[in-house]
Symmetry: C2
Subunit: 105 residues, 2 copies
């Protein structure tokens, strides 16, 4: 019945891996696995929904078009308001970084 966030991890990752875990009318819960990935230099995410995100394993840096970079270690979480332009600047190349993201209105 239960599944585990830290199993069925891809061994090699050409691209970041997104997997929807659960979701409803206006909400989507997804696991993201990165390994050294970042968004393209000008690849700002500009999302219609709010996003609450937490790093559960690994390390990452988020950049915001307006604002300072935010370093994320395991347990660190923050809310990115809708249309707040951001990108993944860095993820640890030495280990898988496991994120949990909740998109909601």
């Amino acid at each position: 019945m239960q599944k585990n966030l830290f199993t069925s991890m891809p061994f090699s990752l050409k691209e970041e891996q997104f997997e929807e875990l659960a979701g409803g009318k206006d909400v989507s819960i997804e696991r993201i696995v990165s390994r050294g990935h970042s968004s393209p230099e000008e690849g700002w995410y500009d999302q219609p929904q709010h996003e609450w995100v937490v790093v559960l394993q690994g390390r990452a840096v988020l950049a915001f078009e307006q604002g300072e970079d935010v370093e994320l270690a395991p347990g660190d979480h923050l809310t990115i308001p809708s249309h707040c332009r951001h990108r993944v600047k860095w993820t640890d190349p030495q280990q898988a970084t496991v994120w949990l993201a909740v998109h909601y209105s």
Copy 2:
């Protein structure tokens, strides 16, 4: 800007601690910290919304009115449909159990 799920942990816990981390129109994201707590014997949760839940630290057992007990270790997650009656049967008394729960429609 970011906060951490594993800090600001209550040292002693008379009751389970619920803290809303983020939320929107029909969604609520909360951290729950338990330490040896369980629901009252006949204290079934019967919730109008769906709940996606993950254990991030510690150990727990969920019981379902109809169905088998589910043991949860770090990373284990499951979705509890709305009105699926369940209770927390056991949480580890030796350490804080940190849950993340997303309630949604």
